[in-house]
């Protein structure tokens, strides 16, 4: 009976990936990045892996504030890339950053309108029955969206305040909402599922995306190399293609 119980326990542990496996020669780098960076970072991680044999970059995307909260709770991460500097300061405050954060790209907000929806211009945002979703003011895209709309003098009553820019884009792309304010890069990434509407010049709030090496499980040099890679010239083409600006 004891043997049975031990066997069951062992298989449960094996299934859940607990316990030490055979030692691997591969080095793993865990990168947490803002949802808006998903497309660009997936490509950049591939390029980085090509240049560094034996390195496996593990990516985790989510709302910047979510990721910052995970890091503050001790999530094992080697690199953190945020959607804005305010979120980065949360991580810096916890004291897990190995160096000063480097701003590697800029982004700006844009209105994403549902295809064939009622929003054809910025004026339509305040039209009767038009459903606009924004990020909650507590998260980076929400703060930027409100600043942009205030500057543009558009008084929007959102029908929902979402957790992350991905949620806003999802609501618009699925046609549930007529429009939302997201990052320029999200509109590009969404392709023809949404139409981007440019805000007037002064309202194009620019957010600066910082990246930092963290006190994580990978060795310090590798994390620093990744930070240098995404903020360096090599990464520029990929970031440009995704719609990010040069800091």
């Amino acid at each position: 009976m004891r043997a049975h119980a031990a066997a069951i326990l062992a298989s449960v542990l094996a299934l859940s990936g607990c316990g030490a496996g055979p030692a691997s020669t591969e080095r793993t780098l865990t990168v947490l990045a803002a949802a808006s960076l998903a497309t660009a970072f997936t490509e950049l991680a591939d390029e980085f892996e090509d240049e560094h044999a034996g390195v496996d970059v593990r990516l985790s995307f989510g709302g910047s504030s979510s990721l910052a909260a995970q890091i503050a709770e001790g999530a094992p991460a080697d690199v953190f890339a945020a959607a804005d500097e305010r979120t980065m300061s949360l991580v810096a405050d916890v004291g897990v950053a190995r160096a000063e954060a480097v701003v590697f790209a800029t982004n700006t907000v844009q209105v994403a309108a549902r295809r064939d929806g009622p929003v054809k211009s910025l004026q339509d945002l305040v039209g009767p029955g038009v459903k606009v979703v924004l990020c909650a003011p507590q998260v980076p895209c929400g703060a930027a969206a409100r600043e942009a709309l205030d500057t543009a003098g558009i008084e929007v009553e959102p029908v929902s305040e979402e957790q992350s820019v991905a949620d806003v884009l999802g609501k618009v792309a699925s046609g549930e909402a007529d429009a939302g304010v997201v990052y320029r890069t999200d509109v590009l990434a969404a392709g023809d599922r949404v139409t981007g509407l440019e805000l007037p010049g002064p309202a194009r709030v620019v957010t600066r995306c910082p990246v930092v090496a963290l006190d994580g499980p990978a060795d310090e040099a590798l994390a620093a190399e990744f930070v240098a890679f995404v903020s360096g010239r090599e990464a520029r083409a990929t970031l440009d293609a995704a719609g990010f600006g040069t800091p």
Partner: protein, 261 residues
């Protein structure tokens, strides 16, 4: 323990570990609560709006569950037809479905682009982004709790009383109201309280289907999820509030010595 013939000694450690797996996180939560500021954290405008919305929507969805769930449980309990088990299987689906999947399914049905929602919108009925969507999401996940609990009670109850009442000339409606339902009252109460508690805790389907706006669709769990990122202390204080409600619910339903469901 040794007096029982089917409880070997080695069964005790895993049982304790299993219990600890459930109990320790609750201890962890209580340890994290910032008691000094607890009062102010749970009474901010956003917290009060979320609590009030949660209480209103959970009550509304519980009433909806009673109106629809009691008849459904009765039909299932009294039917021996083959279709009854197929119907029951559908009732059980939301119990095992991830709530976020429930939310997507609701969206595909009652959303503005949903197969029913687009017709409702033509009629001027809008569900997406309204409090009605929150109630629908809650009813979707909590109705099975009421139906399953009540059906179990109905099957366990002695049908003889209803037969006698009928032979004495009582119409089915009267037998149901005066004999059957009073007989299963404990099961009905347990099912109602459980579905209320499940509705109060509903998050995944709500956030997917209804959205998140203070006072309209941002229920307590959604508020906790948002606050978790920006004000962890507030999130923990509100979480404790929900744990307290859960404990109160268990105290109300659970009677030592017999299974409530």
């Amino acid at each position: 323990m040794r007096t029982r013939p089917d409880v070997p000694a080695w069964i005790v450690p895993p049982a304790l570990i299993g219990w600890a797996l459930l109990a320790l996180p609750l201890v962890g939560l209580v340890l994290r609560v910032d008691w000094r500021d607890f009062g102010s954290l749970v009474t901010t405008e956003a917290s009060r709006a979320a609590l009030w919305l949660s209480l209103r929507t959970a009550s509304a969805s519980t009433v909806l569950c009673l109106l629809l769930g009691v008849p459904l449980a009765l039909v299932l309990a009294r039917s021996t037809a083959r279709w009854a088990s197929a119907v029951r299987a559908v009732v059980l689906v939301p119990l095992v479905l991830p709530p976020v999947v429930g939310g997507i399914a609701l969206l595909a049905t009652f959303g503005r682009r949903g197969w029913l929602g687009q017709h409702l919108e033509v009629l001027g009925i809008e569900i997406a982004f309204t409090t009605v969507a929150v109630v629908l999401a809650q009813a979707f996940v909590s109705l099975p709790f009421l139906v399953v609990t009540l059906e179990g009670a109905l099957r366990a109850a002695d049908p003889g009383y209803a037969d006698v009442a009928a032979t004495l000339g009582a119409a089915p409606g009267r037998v149901l109201g005066r004999v059957t339902l009073p007989l299963v009252a404990p099961g009905l109460v347990a099912g109602t309280v459980l579905s209320f508690a499940r509705a109060l805790g509903e998050f995944g389907a709500t956030v997917t289907f209804a959205g998140s706006l203070q006072g309209v669709t941002r229920s307590l769990p959604t508020e906790i999820y948002l606050q978790r990122e920006v004000d962890p202390d507030a999130a923990i204080a509100l979480s404790f509030l929900l744990v307290a409600v859960a404990v109160a619910v268990i105290a109300l339903v659970h009677r030592p010595g017999r299974s409530p469901w």
